[in-house]
């Protein structure tokens, strides 16, 4: 039952990580000296009455431990506080933003994975040739470019061809559902491409090294000796085994995808979670920032946990 043991271990790890993130969130915003909520003078244009109301609302007259317990209790009820900016509950704001983020995130990431795996396999297969060099150098180039800058370059390149800001055309009213979807897709093209391109370079390099490693194994030599075609050797023997490290690395890159998403949404004014973080920073809207950070951490931890399970499914030998 080592498998059950492994899954239990990963579950406990994920739960403890979530708890640490929640506590970190509390310490950063509440307990640290000069932190956001304790320093109420930072709220713009706060009157004396508002200060008292806030103090009561956040329970600042109580001890830190009591505050921590209250904070945890409110979290279990899904209460993340109220945004300073638009006076809506943070959870409502995040929910709206999430539905805007997911499609762009999925399209961009899928593009990166598919394109990265294909180019990585080609580079490894043709290693040492001009094809390999060009592919690898291009990938390294996209790996080295700042996400926000690449987004700006695409805006300049596609000026007038594709919309560069927002999610829908504000002048498109009373449109049919089909026209609406088309409009959103046109707006999604550049941000998703930016996210995809900054990620793909990294995946190409990772897939290429994983492929090179498996291509040197004895079973590949055996497959070749059996007279299988190059393509069959690559697809059935090398690529399958190369997918193991690739899957882990893609899962581990989630933290980066999240960071890239923030920058991309900031450049293209895409109204998602990343933009919520950006706006919250600009407006010093601490409840929003706190909620968004918690949400991003939870999703990364969850996805890593899922990746752990997938990895176990792919390679049952793994127990550590």
């Amino acid at each position: 039952m080592r498998g059950a043991d492994y899954i239990l271990k990963r579950t406990v790890f994920a739960i403890v990580t979530v708890f640490i993130a929640i506590t970190l969130n509390f310490i950063l915003f509440r307990a640290a000296p000069g932190s956001a909520v304790t320093d109420l003078s930072r709220v713009p244009h706060a009157s004396e009455a508002l200060r008292h109301a806030l103090e009561k609302q956040f329970g600042l007259d109580k001890s830190k431990w009591e505050q921590y317990v209250i904070y945890l209790r409110e979290l279990t009820h899904g209460n993340l506080g109220v945004s300073f900016d638009n006076q809506q509950p943070v959870s409502t704001n995040l929910k709206t933003a999430l539905w805007n983020t997911v499609p762009m995130f999925v399209v961009g990431t899928l593009f990166a994975i598919i394109f990265g795996v294909i180019t990585g396999v080609i580079a490894a297969w043709r290693r040492g040739t001009a094809t390999d060099n060009v592919t690898t150098i291009t990938a390294l180039g996209f790996y080295s470019v700042p996400t926000q800058w690449l987004g700006i370059m695409l805006i300049i390149l596609f000026a007038g061809v594709l919309p560069s800001s927002g999610m829908v055309d504000p002048f498109l009213v009373d449109s049919s559902p089909w026209a609406h979807i088309q409009d959103v897709l046109r707006h999604m093209a550049l941000p998703a491409l930016t996210l995809g391109l900054t990620l793909y370079g990294e995946y190409t390099l990772v897939v290429r090294s994983a492929m090179l490693e498996t291509l040197g194994e004895d079973y590949v030599l055996t497959a070749r000796a059996k007279g299988l075609s190059s393509w069959q050797v690559v697809r059935r023997h090398a690529l399958r085994n190369a997918m193991l490290p690739t899957a882990t690395l893609i899962a581990l890159s989630l933290g980066y995808i999240v960071a890239g998403q923030i920058l991309v949404e900031a450049v293209f004014s895409w109204p998602g979670i990343g933009r919520a973080v950006y706006e919250a920073v600009l407006q010093r809207d601490y409840p929003m920032l706190q909620g968004a950070f918690l949400f991003l951490t939870l999703s990364v931890v969850t996805f890593n946990f899922i990746a752990d399970l997938i990895y176990f499914r792919l390679d049952p030998r793994i127990t550590e």
Binding site: T17, A36, G141, S144, W149, L249, V277, A292, F293
Partner: protein
């Protein structure tokens, strides 16, 4: 420790001198042998020189308005002017200073923290190892850029804060790499011999363990500098950079915020991004070549495996 003192302990001389000799020449040796490393080192060296000599080579002052806002590139101003009428070449030269300063200073912070934790965990093992590595694991699992944004937003924008924030969030990979290396060095015969001769922990660590892991630390430092520069541009773009300091990230942010795109002033926004990309590429080429040179498995020529790192969640890739 002078060499004359060492000569009285013949057993240690052989072991202690040998790594020193290979360490001194290690960087140079790799650069001579690998064109990728040479190219990377040349790029990084060039930009370090530009950063150090900034006041001497910058054609104009950093705050001098020398023409109309967004003036086109010309013979006098090769890359045109920015929204304030400041020469772009001057901005880029001074920007190199701040970007590289953040890169190296944040790396120093993260190497001290990560190296210290890795050294303690790997050298002492047992419960120390378990506790420290658990902490490292949890830090690895929390996405670091959002955490950086939160901390930078709460602390307020200043160069010092940016350096500390990036430094204290990039140490996890270093800790893991150093730990695994120290664990193997600790078991080597010459370390055991030194201990048998009565050497204390600190002497063993500083005379025998650290020199052995130094080459690996150098490779790690180069790769971390790239990450730190990258993170600085991200923080600057989100408005969390020091408003009084011009870095490449800040130049990109300024150009974007002040409508360089709609004014058609590509020269205000394309060059800083290229500078960042070139430096990151240089660091990646050099760091990767150094890591490859250290990996004995890769001496088998036909298996030129490269372990590219995931950024900024660098980590388990290197294990």
């Amino acid at each position: 420790m002078s060499s004359s003192a060492l000569q009285h302990e013949p057993g240690i001389v052989a072991d202690a001198v040998q790594p020193t000799r290979t360490r001194g020449g290690f960087l140079w040796q790799v650069i001579k042998q690998r064109p990728a490393a040479a190219a990377g080192a040349a790029i990084v060296g060039l930009f370090i020189a530009i950063a150090l000599l900034a006041p001497l080579i910058a054609p104009y002052g950093l705050h001098d308005q020398v023409g109309a806002p967004f003036a086109r590139p010309s013979a006098k101003h090769w890359l045109g002017l920015d929204d304030g009428g400041i020469d772009m070449v001057t901005l880029l030269i001074y920007g190199a200073r701040i970007s590289l300063l953040v890169g190296f200073a944040a790396t120093l912070v993260s190497t001290l923290i990560g190296g210290g934790i890795g050294l303690l965990a790997g050298y002492f093992g047992g419960p120390t190892d378990v506790v420290l590595m658990r902490v490292t694991d949890y830090f690895l699992a929390i996405p670091d850029v959002p955490l950086m944004i939160v901390v930078a937003a709460i602390w307020g924008p200043s160069l010092f804060h940016i350096i500390i924030v990036i430094g204290i969030l990039l140490w996890t990979t270093t800790a893991r790499i150093v730990r695994s290396q120290v664990k193997s060095v600790r078991e080597r015969v010459y370390v055991k011999r030194a201990r048998a001769l009565g050497a204390g922990n600190s002497r063993i660590i500083f005379r025998h363990v650290l020199p052995q892991i130094a080459p690996l630390l150098v490779a790690n430092v180069v790769l971390t500098v790239a990450l730190a520069i990258f993170d600085e541009t991200a923080l600057a773009f989100l408005g969390l950079g020091d408003p009084t300091q011009i870095s490449w990230g800040k130049v990109i942010e300024n150009a974007f915020q002040r409508t360089a795109i709609s004014s058609g002033a590509w020269w205000a926004i394309v060059p800083p991004g290229i500078c960042v990309a070139v430096v990151i590429m240089g660091c990646s080429l050099l760091g990767q070549a150094l890591e490859d040179a250290l990996n004995p498995r890769l001496k088998v020529a036909h298996l030129s495996v490269k372990r590219w790192r995931i950024r900024p969640l660098v980590g388990r890739a290197g294990e």
